[in-house]
């Protein structure tokens, strides 16, 4: 595809439920990133993939958050037992390995936990 795509675009879930967010990176981009953006705030780094390995998971807020990536393709971010403070826009980005400062972002998934 031409850009990074994410699904769903919006997700409303009840507190305590699990959610899965999906990211399709730009073809050929080996690096993939997940960020979280709360309303009116900057981006918060969650996790970085190089290929299908995640050398940096330091930004994951708790053990309720996990992510995986299949090869150099699709990634899913899973949030278990969602809490209201998980409500935010979750952004995925991809880049080539050598140009990690130039990340291409998807439109995000707006998660609302009620």
């Amino acid at each position: 595809g031409a850009g990074v795509s994410q699904s769903p675009s919006n997700k409303v879930t009840e507190k305590g439920k699990d959610v899965e967010l999906r990211c399709d990176p730009i073809s050929g981009h080996t690096a993939l990133y997940w960020y979280r953006q709360r309303l009116g705030q900057g981006l918060e780094f969650l996790i970085y993939f190089q290929g299908n390995s995640a050398p940096d998971k330091s930004g994951l807020p708790s053990d309720r958050f996990s992510a995986e990536r299949t090869g150099e393709s699709v990634s899913t971010l899973t949030i278990q037992r969602t809490q209201q403070e998980d409500s935010a826009v979750y952004l995925c980005a991809s880049s080539s390995y050598l140009r990690s400062y130039e990340q291409y972002f998807g439109p995000g998934t707006r998660l609302t936990v009620t």
Binding site: Y33, G42, R99, S100, P107
Partner: protein, 110 residues
Amino acid sequence: LAKTTQPISMDSYEGQEVNITCSHNNIATNDYITWYQQFPSQGPRFIIQGYKTKVTNEVASLFIPADRKSSTLSLPRVSLSDTAVYYCLVGQGGDYKLSFGAGTTVTVRA
């Protein structure tokens, strides 16, 4: 990553030039300066990157003085569609953990 400071907001009118200055007093020798733009309900978009002097592309110009302790993003002849949040980032080429602060909200009025 070097800390950056930029104005919270700026107002402008269509057709004017907008200059956003970012301070980064602790910039390291190997650091580059990168700017992103974010429209409402969209992910950020890479605009421009530079190391020193001046860089220009089809979207903006980036001016970096010799001491590199600040940089200025210049948007020529803005239109209403340039209303967005602009983020200044400083880091090395291999940095992937982009640190986006609050950015500068630029509002362009008719």
